[in-house]
């Protein structure tokens, strides 16, 4: 929901894409269980204006009525409307769907960073979410963001100092690490964020469009990191508009439509269904939303 204008489509050259692991990975026990999850946003102070009746009301009373109409108005927006699935250790799952279908919200709720309205999420270990807002503290330097991120994840100062250079190297930002993150390009910020989040290997890694901003070399490095996480029997969730990336990175896909699961299965099957749906929308001229194929 929060990322609508940040969702930019990237045309990805086929040769840039790393190969999907050919060896079928053995699925471990469940790592994430989602049971009838619903997330409703509460928006304060917006919504339809209540009609103010004209007539014999005094100006004062009209003002009062309008004030009341403006004051306590809470609009509820249903972003995820009852989603259930089970994910396993060693699995990488792509989440696809049009803009506003609830993909980012679903990830935030599964990560436990956005409270659910109802339903349950069970998870193994500590999830790590790479969102679109990559900078933790925009005013502070990349250096301080690394320390803050590490400390928040529960690393000690010494562990952070030990991994500091690796994080900077992995992100490939060089001396820019001393500059405030408000001066970073979105790609640099996303790369640094990815490096911070994977400094302590998470059990469940969730990536929200973060890789789309990286160049080919970074995509190779991040792909290697993701494979490493999966080898250590972690689970990776991957939200993207780019069907090509999802096909390359994931073994399974979940298609989300208006907050509900429309399809869930092997990546090629679901991706083909989704492609058909989008092409149909396009041919009937209904689609003004972006949907990369």
């Amino acid at each position: 929901m929060s990322s609508q204008d940040a969702e930019i489509d990237f045309e990805i050259d086929a040769e840039d894409l790393p190969d999907r692991p050919k060896t079928p990975l053995v699925l471990g026990p469940p790592s994430v269980i989602v049971d009838d999850l619903r997330v409703t946003y509460r928006v304060i102070g917006t919504g339809k204006r209540a009609p103010v009746s004209a007539g014999r009301n005094s100006a004062f009373r009209r003002l009062l009525a309008r004030g009341r109409a403006n004051a306590v108005r809470v609009t509820e927006v249903e972003a995820v409307r009852g989603v259930s699935f089970v994910a396993h250790h060693g699995e990488s799952i792509g989440i696809i769907g049009t803009n506003g279908s609830g993909k980012s919200t679903l990830l935030q709720a599964v990560a436990g960073l956005l409270p659910a309205t109802s339903g349950s999420v069970y998870i193994a270990g500590t999830p790590s979410l790479l969102g679109v807002n990559a900078a933790l503290m925009r005013k502070l330097s990349g250096e301080r963001n690394i320390v803050i991120g590490g400390l928040a994840l529960g690393l000690s100062r010494r562990e952070i100092d030990e991994r500091f250079q690796d994080i900077v190297d992995f992100a490939g930002i060089g001396d820019a690490v001393r500059l405030p993150m408000s001066t970073y390009s979105s790609g640099m910020a996303a790369r640094l964020r990815f490096a911070i989040s994977t400094a302590a290997v998470p059990d469940v890694l969730m990536i929200d469009e973060a890789l789309a901003t990286g160049d080919a070399a970074f995509r190779q490095r991040s792909k290697a990191k993701i494979d490493q996480i999966r080898e250590q029997t972690g689970t990776v969730f991957f939200v993207s508009h780019s069907l090509a990336s999802v096909r390359a990175m994931c073994s399974r896909a979940i298609w989300l439509d208006h907050g509900l699961i429309r399809a869930d299965g092997p990546v090629d099957e679901v991706a083909d269904q989704y492609r058909e749906y989008v092409e149909e929308l396009r041919s009937t001229g209904q689609d003004d939303r972006d949907s990369a194929l």
């Binding site: 259930s84 069970y122 933790l136 925009r138 869930d264």
Partner: protein
Amino acid sequence: MAGTSHAGVTSEHLADLAAQSGLRKVGVRPPLGTYIRETWRRRDFARYMATSSIYAENQNTFLGQIWTILNPALNAMVYVLIFGILLQTSRGLENFIGFIVIGTFIYRFFSDSATGGAKSIAKNLNLVRSLHFPRAVLPISAVLAQFASLVPTVGVMVFFVLMSGIFPSVTFGGVDWEWLLLVPALVLTYLFCTGVALILARVMASLPDLDNVLPFVLRVLMYGSGVIFSIDHFVRDPVLSSIMQYQPVAIYLDLARQALLAEPTIPLVGLKWAVGAAWAVGTLVVGFIFFWRAEARYGRE
């Protein structure tokens, strides 16, 4: 397993499966003991957040960190000028300069802590939405940041008290062992402020309108705590006077003044130290539990 439809699978099945696989439920607040331990484990995090926010605050000024000292010094000078010299509120006090300077500095620490604590969740929403950590770290580090910038300003405060003797109408009481009591007085004030910050942080998270009300509450409290005048000199009603003197903010102003001033109307009173300690511990415990109870809900818009 991929593609399995879960139609017909009940929530109990899924909960059993989760329990068998050793998964934990997301978005449930941890038990209080675990929460305290996790917060304690993040003490480096709280400290680092505090120093970073002080650093960020004065980042774009020419004088930089000097403002943490200049700002309170200018403030104290304004109060001394208006209330001490122009309006002659000094009646009933031997050292009104010291009285007002201590009052404004300690009160400023309290009000900045309250404001900072109240805003701590909203200000760091990006962090809350990205990473897992006990959210209590945020209000705690907001007060820690104020406390860290209080330490150098205490130097300014002591300087003003030492120099107060140069005014003809002021009697400077001299330096004695009681000055050491300033340290416990500040520590108690700090603990109390942390409790207040935790309470306000939770209230503000669910009721953003507080942002508009808080400045007025703080201003009323300033006049109700005897920051720039002596309560027992101006408030005649004995009941009202005691209430005003034993409410926490007035107590902490009084403790700092007991330490640094030799005012006959502000003697060293053990009872006030006991009350100050009780307010500090009580507010901190109540504030922490109150904040913890909403732990799973922070970050919802």
